[in-house]
Symmetry: C2
Subunit: 214 residues, 2 copies
Amino acid sequence: MAQKKLTADDAYRALHDKIIAGDLKPGAKLREVEIAESLGVSRTPVREALRRLESDGLLTHAPHKGAVVKQLDFQSISELYKIREVLEGTAAGLAARQMSEVEIAALYDMLPAQIEVKDNEVEASRLNKLFHRTICHGASNRYLIEMIDGLDLSMALLGRSTLGLEARKDQAISEHRKIIDAIAVGDAVEAEAAARKHIRSSHAARLKILLEDS
Amino acid sequence: MAQKKLTADDAYRALHDKIIAGDLKPGAKLREVEIAESLGVSRTPVREALRRLESDGLLTHAPHKGAVVKQLDFQSISELYKIREVLEGTAAGLAARQMSEVEIAALYDMLPAQIEVKDNEVEASRLNKLFHRTICHGASNRYLIEMIDGLDLSMALLGRSTLGLEARKDQAISEHRKIIDAIAVGDAVEAEAAARKHIRSSHAARLKILLEDS
DNA sequence: GCAACTAAAATTGTATACAATGTAATACAA
DNA sequence: TTGTATTACATTGTATACAATTTTAGTTGC
């Protein structure tokens, strides 16, 4: 078999994926030797991975105390959605000015798959991310892309997707369509407004989940 | 004498400051052993510092090739200012809704010092950053603060401040006052508009400097 | 039984040694 | 002379050894 040599980047991705998948929940402590052994590497690359995850905002790290998966409090979640609203709105507005016909067509093409996916929260979430990423890239701004990606990562700390709520799924798709429609006609103001509204209702759905779970 | 033990965090700050101060210019290659020896530590903490600077966006880093101080191209600079406009505008808008009387008074108190500073680009830049940071904190959003701080860092890669231009200094102060005025009366829309305009004219000044230097 | 102190174990931080990769220089052939 | 291949060197990547710090467990005194 392959047994390809693992590197720091592999360690990063492994931990990254574990956190995203919810395998490592907020509050979980990460011990370097433990991780190193489980991955079959030394502590050095593990430490590098941990530091990257820290600057990604997925871990908190106190000197001599170790790394812990970050736990978002209520206030942080509100702040997170507020900024997401601004950035996704900006992205949609820029996309309305810059996206090409084919790119817009690609957005429309994503809708059927979003509708068809049933009771598969993971896949629904993947398609949703793809949709938002496509618009974000349509804005052609590397800093914006980086920031939204960063927020998405933090979002993963919240656990299961809001698309798990059946009602939310249909609403989200309808909102997606409105965003595309505005982009398609080059209406930046409306595209931004639609995107902001979409994030706000996503926030509302999130709050519903949080209150259910508590 | 003290001879305090240096740690990874110190190495980070040392390099960080050298880049900000322009001591390490874009394009400069950073060799681990060289830095380690100059700081009197081993490569381990230096590597950690380099990785942090990389995720700060101050360095680019190719595997097995080493770290280089990032060089921003024309396109990147435009994108940088575009996002700064959005974020600083958002910050000013939120600040208009949330800042307290005393905080606003503190903003007004900063203006005289900004006016008095003469031919001291470094000090002028410091006061300017302080002003923007204060508004940013007035928005009470940790993610927003983090992002604007990150953009400020990248901004440092551009070299000397736009406040070096004599005409720009007066203009900037006038714009600062307009922003505060809007915040003081709680006019979020106007505060955002004023802040965005401020960043745009800063961008214009930046372009002037860039064209002069080339 | 509880509190505080002490010691030992666990864990992170740093230094160094070794491996892998990339770069540059040199030798050789066309 | 130029192009290429080979080899030596420089640099980064990983593993391990050691130091510093924190946490935990145990013991002693009250």
